[in-house]
Point group: C2
Chain length 444, copies 2
């Protein structure tokens, strides 16, 4: 049970029981008993979430969906796929790609994360700027409710306006409204070609400015990633990829589509970077060079994780053109609080991850981390942004929810929760907990 | 008030009062009073819905949002636009296109329909196969709740997983959960080029089969429309466009994207049609020819409407590859019930509109119409489809909701409704009314 007390945050709790259902009926039956007996249930997949969303407390049962891991159907004619929640996302995506189709959501954890977990968290990833996130692909699902009822919402059709859109109510509900036991996603044809470029900037602000400039020229890359100098330093120390150690930031750009026009798109993006003072734009000449650059991006988390006892992956999102201001404010705040951070951003989406290199055993430092998080969250909201772009509210951001939605908004969400889960057995203290789990008190 | 007793169905009711708010605060204030006094409120825009979704009954207040018609912002850097609900959709789309951007939803009523109405109904249109529907574009909104609270949900960011996805709960909720007072949509760059082709088929089933064959070849057209012989006959009698009167069906195909690849896509689609026994594929050689074909498609509704006293636009949706079976069943059922129908389909989405040419004053015929609708709805559900692809449940399909979602599903929706609107003042008897409004009893 110790293994189920954690997720990918430094927080830790305690599981009093673990259930591993093999079917939707088993999941529903467990819920029915827990609801009757008032036993709280924490649903989870692989536990890769970064918001403390699956941390249990003593007395709670963890329901891990990992044994329900079947692909039910990949419907090539209808461009849809249906799977159980426990399948690893990367495996599901690979099976789809083997049929010449694409399921775009691609969180960095996809080789570990469960499909169901990514639905419950509405996971994002590196291709959100062009392809959106999990929410944009889930068109139907089956869920076990707190009372043990199984419901099916949405379906397999591209158009569907029958009844309330409960599908999207469950997507991103973080296990607080029901347990997802199956989901159907729409697919798109696999793009014919992909090209990658690396743009190097002396100034971080210029890199952030270049992002909007690329979009202004009507190029929407598949991925548009920013990596700052601190992150570059750790990536190069971990697995050298030739990223420039003297640059304040790089942009990693991937375009995809028809073979006949990816070169044109990449040239337009490169020109936008040069006009925004990129000192160099390297274009990957083959798939191997491109893959090396993306491997460097993906190594960001392990690279930082080995550099310090604790790494906290923050996640805010602002309207794209406010990214330069947000980046500047984050740098300034980290200096003021004496914190070391590495920044990466899904810059095309305005989605910034200031990753904090720290030591969870140092309660004083954790209090500074908490203050820093509060400040950047307030700044993101003041710029018309959101508390969390893709990692969820979980435990970490529960105290801030009313800052974004006001009392009436939070009250509406709470009433919906109470409607579907009147005894409050599903993932309690997530989303709405005013206190949240303090990093300075709850680290494992 | 008589003018507010109708929508685009043949149903008619009676409005006892009409409110025309000029601001969100006014809308909220009216709701607060109505909630206190127990006066039912029917929110509406232009009333173009085809499901009896805005028909009031005696004692009800109609809240028409047409005076709140401002575009608040078109944010070219962020690729988003925000508007009040009363603006005509076509006007909003034109303002966006003038900036080189596209808001794809394009219901046939867009030159009349209000933006807010299309959000409340999650309107679809002709480009759903490639671009999805309203639901896929709304990322934030403001709504006045039954109790007069104003809430803001979602926002302006492309990624946003903060709290429950109330945005999508309101989209398509048909005025039963709140009154939408503002909405923000994401935009995409306007495609560089568009090309249109007309494929002519001797057999309706071959046309329906060709739809899946096009998608199977990895071409996703912007629009993929089927028009049957009865519809062709009326269109040609109304405004001749050169559609072949001896064909059982035509497919109207539009591809869009980069100028360099639209020809290739169109050639692939044309080849798929020929392989599925199209007797002819005409490719529009210029924008004028293309526009003439699309004008013919758009004239379908007026063409049918002038041919009979009453036209009822049905709307079911099935997984795309079941379209041939659905089309065959609809033809057979219309013959069996002695009904004249014209069919058009947003075929790429499996979204079929069997349009019934009838006379609402003939109660016996209306009962046959009701039986026909029940049968095609059951067939769509048995094929894994949905009660309604894009027109909503409203009054017309309320009796069938449990067929699709079961008792637990409908109960869940009703509980959510009761949570947000405890006194049931918002658009009562829509969505959940077991009896619905019978065509044989409630026509105007």
């Amino acid at each position: 049970m110790a293994a189920y007390a954690y997720d990918a945050t430094p927080l830790a709790g305690e599981a009093s029981a673990v259930a591993l259902p093999r079917s939707a009926d088993q999941a529903a039956a467990v819920l029915r008993v827990c609801n009757r007996e008032g036993v709280p249930v924490v649903p989870r997949g692989a536990g890769t979430n970064l918001s403390g969303g699956t941390i249990p407390q003593r007395g709670m049962l963890v329901m891990a969906m990992t044994r329900m891991d079947r692909i039910i159907e990949i419907d090539v004619d209808n461009l849809t796929a249906t799977a159980q929640p426990g399948i690893v996302l990367g495996k599901f995506k690979a099976a789809i790609e083997a049929k010449g189709l694409l399921y775009p959501p691609d969180p960095s954890s996809m080789q570990v994360a469960s499909f169901g977990g990514t639905v419950a968290e509405s996971a994002g990833g590196l291709s959100g700027v062009k392809y959106g996130t999990t929410r944009d692909y889930v068109i139907g699902l089956e869920a076990a409710l707190a009372n043990g009822d199984l419901i099916r919402v949405g379906g397999k059709t591209l158009k569907n306006v029958s009844g309330y859109d409960l599908t999207h109510l469950f997507v991103g509900s973080e296990g607080t409204l029901g347990v997802i036991t199956e989901a159907t996603v729409r697919l798109i044809p696999l793009p014919e070609a992909r090209r990658t470029a690396l743009a190097v900037f002396n100034l971080l602000e210029d890199a952030a400015e270049a992002v909007s400039e690329i979009i202004r020229r009507k190029v929407v890359p598949r991925s548009l990633e920013l990596i700052d100098s601190e992150s570059i330093k750790h990536i190069e120390a971990y697995k050298p990829a030739g990223l420039p150690l003297d640059a304040e930031a790089v942009l990693l750009i991937e375009v995809d589509g028809r073979a006949s026009h990816v070169d044109e798109d990449l040239a337009l993006a490169a020109a936008a970077c040069r006009d925004m003072r990129a000192r160099e734009v390297r274009i990957a000449t083959n798939a191997r060079e491109a893959e090396a650059l993306w491997a460097a991006r993906r190594s960001h988390y392990p690279a930082l994780a080995r550099a310090c006892p604790t790494i906290i992956i923050e996640d805010v999102c602002v309207p794209r053109h406010h990214l330069p201001r947000m980046v500047k404010m984050v740098k300034e705040a980290s200096r003021r609080h004496g914190l070391k951070i590495g920044m990466v951003a899904h810059a095309g989406e305005g989605n910034l991850h200031p990753d904090i290199l720290c030591d969870a055993r140092n309660a004083e430092e954790m209090r500074r981390v908490e203050q820093f998080i509060e400040e950047i969250v307030r700044e993101a909201l003041s710029l018309g942004g959101t508390l969390t772009g893709e990692h969820g509210i979980g435990s970490m951001k529960a105290p801030f929810l009313a800052w974004q939605f006001g009392a009436a908004g939070v009250e509406t969400m709470k009433r919906i929760k109470a409607t579907l889960d009147p005894k409050g057995i599903l993932n309690p203290d997530k989303l709405f907990s005013e206190g949240g789990m303090k990093l300075s008190r709850s680290c494992g």
